[in-house]
């Protein structure tokens, strides 16, 4: 498949790596907090960093994002402050949603993140409407909707693609096919391996990309986003990737085939880019150490900010339900 991409000024390869490392460090800190408990339930995106960074790095500031319960990578890649995210997860008033969202529903209006939905498919149901606003109120922006292969098996996926196509709405659908749907392998619930072909009957172009290769994802996302920008029509990009941890914390993979896990761990998106950068002589092991340390330090600061932030005032419990 040849992709029509003109070279774009964008992040360098070490910058892409740094973005992925920051997500990994954030998720690992969440895992550590959870293990030390008590801590809210969380679904991590460990293993899916390349999809998040690859796609989000291809977007522009005016673009809008809707995503699902594994959203931390998308938000961080978009530039969300990890301190305010962790504060939200910890239910503090300094969180992006004043502690009312928690881990699973963070939205950040100033970054164009309209929704993190933990109703599986909720993001798919709102996406055409957000794109309708773009279409009717003007502006060049497109709408990116991240969802899983599990959501793709819901009726709302089909309703969403159909309407977006019929109404010519600028939605870039991004399916992160991470092989799992909570505790069920996609092989039990889907005919075929891929979601991308499901776009064709709706007149929507699609592409499947190696979701663990950040450079491939970015290239594919630039192509897909350019197509949506130009045609003002939907496009479906499928990132073929893997959920490295259990569905949610505490981590449990007792039900996972060890061979599958091993094969995918060997394709870890961060290790792959690191190996490439080392092989090409772009970075040294010492450089990598520095990048890792920087990511950890940013998350240390975030954790410090979040854990010392105040809780919301319980007397405001029911405030803000209505405008």
């Amino acid at each position: 498949m040849s992709l029509s991409t003109t070279p774009q000024p964008g992040p360098t390869r070490p910058e892409l790596l740094a973005a992925m490392l920051r997500i990994r460090a954030y998720e690992e800190r969440i895992v550590a907090f959870h293990a030390a408990g008590p801590f809210p339930n969380v679904c991590t995106s460990v293993g899916q960093e390349a999809a998040a960074v690859g796609v989000v790095s291809a977007l522009r500031t005016e673009d809008q994002i809707l995503t699902n319960h594994r959203s931390a990578g998308h938000l961080l890649a978009r530039g969300a402050d990890p301190g305010r995210m962790l504060a939200e997860v910890m239910g503090r008033s300094t969180g992006y949603c004043q502690g009312r969202s928690g881990t699973l529903h963070i939205s950040v209006k100033e970054l164009g993140v309209v929704l993190t939905s933990t109703i599986v498919g909720g993001e798919l149901s709102l996406a055409p409407g957000v794109a309708l606003s773009r279409a009717m109120l003007g502006g060049e922006g497109i709408v990116v909707c991240f969802f899983g292969d599990g959501a793709a098996c819901e009726g709302i996926f089909h309703e969403s693609l159909n309407l977006a196509s019929v109404w010519n709405l600028p939605v870039l659908y991004v399916c992160e096919n991470n092989q799992w749907q909570a505790f069920v392998h996609r092989k039990e619930t889907m005919v075929g391996d891929h979601v991308a072909p499901w776009a064709a009957p709706y007149g929507i172009d699609s592409l499947t990309v190696d979701g663990n290769d950040v450079e491939s994802v970015r290239k594919a996302a630039l192509h897909a986003a350019a197509q949506v920008r130009e045609t003002r029509r939907p496009f479906l990009l499928e990132a073929w990737t893997y959920r490295q941890r259990g569905h949610m914390e505490p981590h449990d993979q007792s039900y996972v085939d060890p061979a599958e896990l091993e094969a995918w761990m060997a394709k870890d998106p961060i290790s792959r880019l690191e190996a490439r950068l080392l092989a090409d002589g772009e970075l040294t092991t010492a450089d990598l150490e520095v990048l890792h340390a920087e990511a950890r330090r940013a998350i240390d600061e975030a954790a410090e900010f979040a854990s010392t932030s105040p809780y919301p005032d319980p007397s405001d419990l029911a405030a803000g339900v209505y405008a």
Binding site: Q64, L126, Y322
Partner: protein, 327 residues
Amino acid sequence: MTQMTFHDAVEAALHEEMARDPRVLMFGEGTATKRKGLLKAFGPQRVRNTPLAEGIIAGTAAGAAATGLRPVVDLLFAPFLCFAMDELVNSAGKLRYMSGGQFSFPMVALAMTGGGWSVGAQHNHNLEAWFVHAPGLKVVMPSTPADAKGLMKAAIRDENPVLFFMDIGLAFAPGEVPEDEALIPLGQAAIRREGSDVTLISYAKTVHTCLAAAEALAEQGVSAEVLDLRTLKPLDEATILASVRKTGRVVIVHEASRLCGVGAEVAALISEQAFEALRAPIIRLTGPDAPAPASYPLEQAFAPQADAIVGAAAGLVARTLEAAPIW
């Protein structure tokens, strides 16, 4: 004043609001086909037909509302709201709060409800209480064309998601509608008839049944006040309590089934806040806990009848007179 049906009053409201605010648009299954006047005036961008898919219709409205438009969606018959429940309840109703106020959801979902067309239970279900129970939503259920217009305009201008239920039995009944703005704020009940012995509290079609009952009661020398809730959420508690404090007797009437219905909430409100004013127990007259039947006589029997209201109200008055001290 002009005479128009409920259906046309809603359309007049839409027309005026779409002319006033370019962000208002309307879509639904057959909207552009059936609302030719709107289509002609505002074009296919703002008056749209959709696929038969209530989930994506409501979800699209929520997404559009969050990002700058003010959609009105016609979901046709209330039972179809079951397909749009997630989008209305979990998204439109909750996401303002969950986002810490970053996003609001100024949208209206229109649906028809109640008996009158013999359409049977899968097209007729008074499920307004479901939405009253859902935080973040507002619920409107008018009884006259004038209110339908004024409340629809207010619903469109509201920053929150509003469920607008149109009673099928009223849809093509004409009524007086003022020609000026005539906005009716959400959350204001109306006293349809003044009275001093008993308050009949209702909304939508059964308001008219209560008015007929009040006529009959007057002939018996019983003065009934008829209170039309108009908006079920927010509920106009002040008007309810004031009326009950005046009459001391209450009959609550609605077509929806009794258990956890709107009437239960009104009764609880009165017993919590105006218990001292009550001279007799509160009575609820409602539809049965049964799916709506199709056969016309059964469908009519489903909704509380004027005779029953007269009997209940007269009984309350007699009971309190009997119990009155003899001096």
